[in-house]
Amino acid sequence: GGIITQTPKFLIGQEGQKLTLKCQQNFNHDTMYWYRQDSGKGLRLIYYSITENDLQKGDLSEGYDASREKKSSFSLTVTSAQKNEMAVFLCASSIQSSGNTLYFGEGSRLIVV
């Protein structure tokens, strides 16, 4: 079986700082996603990518950048961290962008001080 690895598990930064989360998958999946989870709420899609160098905006893309450098990796950048952005960020992948199971990483918690 494959695995999705997110780094770091905890990302601590200052307000206004640019912070980057990384995600690697070895499923050889085409599509990768970044979701944000706030306490007591469902996941919200930030960005997704259907292939290398592709980038599609989700519902919550403002304030974020993403990059699909290669098929196996997808990074997410918080362009200017804010205290109300403290949440868990989840990376996922699937074979295609619809009709397929999503596989998730363990999450990265963003802490803004």
């Binding site: 007591g40 709420k41 469902g42 997704y48 999503l102 998730f104 363990e106």
Partner: protein
């Protein structure tokens, strides 16, 4: 309003008992997935349904696109079933998954 309403938000069961979680949709969904978030924070895929029912061990899920709901039944609950359960529905019009707000399930001895 929310397109996916998940209930209950929290549920406590004794070992050996069972119950059901439910997601109602305000629009037609193409498919639904159910996930469990474990103590390490990982989201584990439980079911993917485009219609009908699926069963896996002590879990059973149903999805009715026309009636706009999905259920997840747990029977003979065990301590390791504790966690937060999410449904996520795939919209008919695009790829996007719309997530429920989760059900926190606690299994007591």
């Amino acid at each position: 309003g929310d397109q996916v309403e998940q209930s209950p938000s929290a549920l406590s069961l004794h070992e050996g008992t069972g119950s059901a979680l439910r997601c109602n949709f305000t629009t037609t969904m193409r498919a639904v997935q159910w996930f469990r978030k474990n103590s390490r924070g990982s989201l584990i895929n439980l079911f993917y349904l485009a219609s009908g029912t699926k069963e896996n061990g002590r879990l059973k899920s149903a999805f009715d696109s026309k009636e706009r709901y999905s259920t997840l039944h747990i029977r003979d609950a065990q301590l390791e079933d504790s966690g937060t359960y999410f449904c996520a529905a795939e919209m008919d019009s695009n790829y996007q998954l719309i997530w429920g707000s989760g059900t926190k399930l606690i299994i007591k001895p």
